[in-house]
């Protein structure tokens, strides 16, 4: 039902997430922000069990901030990703595991831009592009077709637009709005929301 998309290139990582919040057949809102800013250079787009998503994301966010306060410097993206995965893995065999799937985007001077795909079973891969959800299944083929590491921000945004167009054409569930954020050496920036109206061009 929910969908998140991510593309990592030489100079930036771009994430897109749908903005629909629904319970069973009822749509609560169409402008939900599913992306969590863990730090100035870490962005997480989360899907999954309602409530678990916010709890888990905020827990990670606060721990990342605590590390920064304690030590005076931030966790690198690979360290933050490993930390997040470790927490997910520990919760897996507890009484009530977190049911969350997400994409973690990070940027640091040392590593450059990175994208991590993680699911509710605490698997993790670092990858140039990734998706979650049914919508993601339509999109991953499009990313395969058009991805290049040296894409510009506009080109990457266009690929995301193609993906969203496909999702809106073929997925039975209506996902009219997709929020897009970019992470690069200057931090996190929001780009224009991809709306179904804008795509009929």
């Amino acid at each position: 039902m929910e969908c998140v998309l991510g593309i990592s290139c030489n100079d930036f990582v771009i994430l897109a997430s749908d903005m629909t919040n629904a319970h069973s057949i009822l749509v609560n809102k169409q402008d939900e922000d599913k992306m969590f800013k863990l730090s100035d250079r870490l962005l997480m787009a989360v899907t999954g069990e309602s409530g678990d998503t916010t709890q888990f994301a905020e827990y990670i966010e606060k721990n990342i901030q605590l590390y920064k306060m304690r030590n005076g410097y931030e966790l690198s993206p690979p360290a933050a990703a490993n930390f997040t995965r470790r927490n997910l893995a520990d919760s897996l065999r507890s009484r009530s595991p977190y049911m969350v799937n997400f994409l973690l985007a990070g940027y640091s001077e040392r590593t450059g831009p990175e994208l991590y795909w993680m699911d509710y079973l605490a698997s993790m891969i670092k990858t140039p592009f990734a998706t979650h959800g049914y919508g993601g299944m339509f999109s991953i083929g499009i990313m395969d077709r058009y991805y290049r590491p040296d894409l510009t921000e506009e080109e990457a945004y266009d690929i995301l637009k193609k993906c969203v167009a496909e999702i809106q054409k073929r997925l039975i569930i209506n996902l009219p709005n997709f929020q897009v954020k970019v992470l690069d050496k200057n931090g996190i920036r929001a780009l224009n929301v991809i709306k179904s109206q804008n795509l009929t061009a």
């Binding site: 690198s76 690979p78 040392r110």
Partner: protein, 257 residues
């Protein structure tokens, strides 16, 4: 009068001192010397070996220098059994961090963590503090090569060159005069370490079996921790003695009679 307050670690004396902590530091003052020197391309740790009894079966190849993780090494001065507990704890802390974050623990965080443990023994539990001071040498992405010293109180500091154990004050003042910041490479640091150790150690003559030397360097994005083999220590000592002899000859011009 002050004796009344010695019995518990958790009690201040009327003058505002923690006697147990001070007594621990006193114990360390009698232990074998350890010194550390920060060079621009690495770190040198030197330690005086006290257990040179011929009957000792050489099980561990290093008595006072312990590797903590891929990027850090430490040397200890004080009660050996206490030191073993602390180095084991340091290794555990390192691996827990590695498990959580997938990368090596930054040097200061490891030192800081252990010092919090040491501090706890000065405030609650009714147990005595650890009779160990440690010198930590390590490398991390954040600050590069670093040298830290910690003591039984749980205080720690970052140093360019320092010494703990027997005659440490004399060694530190020697280092203060002779250490050249920014101009010291590993080989200079090794030579300086030998020079200082020869002055501060009990023995009249430096021999390789009384001295442990270790270096920490980086090549190709990897940290290399080396405990110098006996042959190399022998060479370094010989070089030092040659230089000493040369300087002695210079300062005493032969009196032509």
């Amino acid at each position: 009068m002050a004796r009344r307050y010695d019995t518990r670690t958790t009690i201040f004396s009327p003058e505002g001192r923690l006697y147990q902590v001070e007594y621990a530091m006193e114990a360390i003052g009698h232990a074998g010397t350890c010194l550390g020197i920060l060079a621009s391309d690495g770190i040198v740790l030197a330690a005086e070996r006290r257990n040179t009894n011929k009957l000792l079966d050489e099980v561990f190849f290093s008595e006072k220098i312990y590797q903590l993780n891929a990027d850090m090494v430490c040397s200890v001065a004080g009660i050996t059994s206490d030191a073993n507990v602390l180095t084991n704890e340091l290794r555990l802390i390192s691996q827990r961090y590695l498990l959580q974050y997938g990368e090596s623990i930054p040097c200061e965080q490891l030192v800081s963590w252990l010092c919090d443990v040491k501090q706890a023994y000065t405030q609650y539990g009714g147990k005595r503090p650890f009779g160990v001071s440690l010198l930590y040498a390590g490398w991390d992405h954040q600050y590069g090569f670093q040298l830290y010293q910690s003591d039984p109180s749980g205080n720690y500091g970052g140093w360019k060159a320092t010494c703990i154990g027997n005659n440490s004050a004399a060694a530190v003042s020697m280092l203060k005069q002779e250490y050249k910041e920014g101009e010291t490479k590993i080989d200079d640091a090794l030579a300086l370490a030998i020079r200082v150790m020869s002055k501060t150690m009990d023995a009249t003559k430096l021999t390789p079996d009384k001295l442990e030397l270790a270096t920490l360097t980086r090549h190709d994005n990897k940290t290399y921790i080396k405990v110098l083999p006996v042959a190399q220590v022998k060479t370094l000592i010989a070089d030092h003695e040659k230089k000493e002899a040369a300087e002695a000859a210079k300062s005493k011009p032969s009196t032509a009679s």
